[in-house]
């Protein structure tokens, strides 16, 4: 099983960062790679089990299911239902933790999945450096560091 761990620090309180990322249907508002998103069946985007159907700027279509969301612990866990990436059993978590020393936020984005062994390094790089770090860089720009 392949594993990805990417983490960063954003120069803003965790409640402000959480307000930006908690909406399971809100990726286009903050992640530069996401073009559009909708929740299937007209369900609320914080209903556990809801499915987001979104499109990347490169045209790829992805469906993901919300497995867990906590405003108290500030994390969001979801699984991949459909994508052109060629991964299976993909589960990812985005978690925010306060840095009390200076009112910053520590963000961790992790994923586990299965794939063909020869594609593992490429997928880890695409998802970790591309999707996860790309999202972190956008948040850092939005909050000024």
């Amino acid at each position: 099983m392949a594993r990805i761990y990417v983490s960063t620090v954003v120069n803003a309180r965790n409640d402000r960062v959480w307000a930006r990322v908690r909406d399971f249907n809100g990726m286009p508002n903050w992640h530069p790679a996401i073009a559009e998103s909708r929740i299937e069946g007209g369900e609320p985007s914080d209903k556990i089990g809801c499915i987001r159907d979104f499109r990347l700027r490169n045209g790829d279509r992805i469906r993901e299911k919300l497995l867990g969301l906590s405003d108290y612990d500030m994390f969001c866990t979801y699984s991949l239902l459909e994508s052109p990436m060629g991964v299976e059993n993909y589960v990812a978590t985005l978690r925010l933790t306060p840095v009390t020393d200076g009112d910053h936020t520590f963000l961790e984005w992790t994923a586990e999945f299965d794939c063909a062994p020869e594609r593992e390094a490429e997928l880890i790089n695409n998802i970790g450096s591309g999707v996860f770090q790309g999202g972190f860089d956008a948040l850092k720009r939005a909050f000024g560091g």
Partner: protein, 147 residues
């Protein structure tokens, strides 16, 4: 039950920070509150269950026991056995996590304890500032001097 949580970011990889923190007998080398430290019965400082005896700068003594330590998770937990202050059931956890964006360290330090209601505010403030925050600042200086 008071719950103190403090965290900081250090501009050093987790391995370098962990090398300093994992020594349960080494706090007197960097923490400003600790004047001297020894492990009772000459046990190794990474033996789970070992007890460290601290002499604080004001001459008072306290004893703490190592409850758990993991080099894989870069965490350790300890409890207070004896202290001159009215602090009871004190258990603390230290956890390091890598900040992959820049090869830095997220350091999370928390504790829970009980005390008399009239002492709760002062003791919480003391642990938060003089133990945890002062420890963060001291490690930052210690790593800079070591570099």
């Amino acid at each position: 039950m008071p719950h103190i949580v403090r965290s900081t970011i250090l501009d050093a990889p987790t391995g370098a920070v962990w090398n300093v923190l994992r020594d349960f007998n080494g706090f007197d080398r960097w923490h400003p509150a600790a004047a001297a430290s020894s492990i009772e019965r000459a046990q190794p400082a990474d033996k789970i269950g070992c007890v460290r005896r601290f002499t604080l700068k004001d001459g008072s003594e306290l004893r703490e026991q190592l409850l758990g330590l993991s080099d894989l998770e870069q965490t350790f937990s300890y409890c207070l056995l004896d202290t001159p202050m009215p602090i009871f059931n004190y258990v603390a956890h230290v956890r390091l996590l890598p900040v992959t964006d820049g090869d830095r360290t997220f350091w999370h330090w928390e504790s829970r304890f009980t005390t008399r209601p009239e002492d709760q505010k002062d003791i919480s403030e003391m642990i938060s500032q003089q133990i945890f925050q002062a420890g963060f600042d001291a490690i930052r200086r210690y790593l800079k001097e070591a570099a």
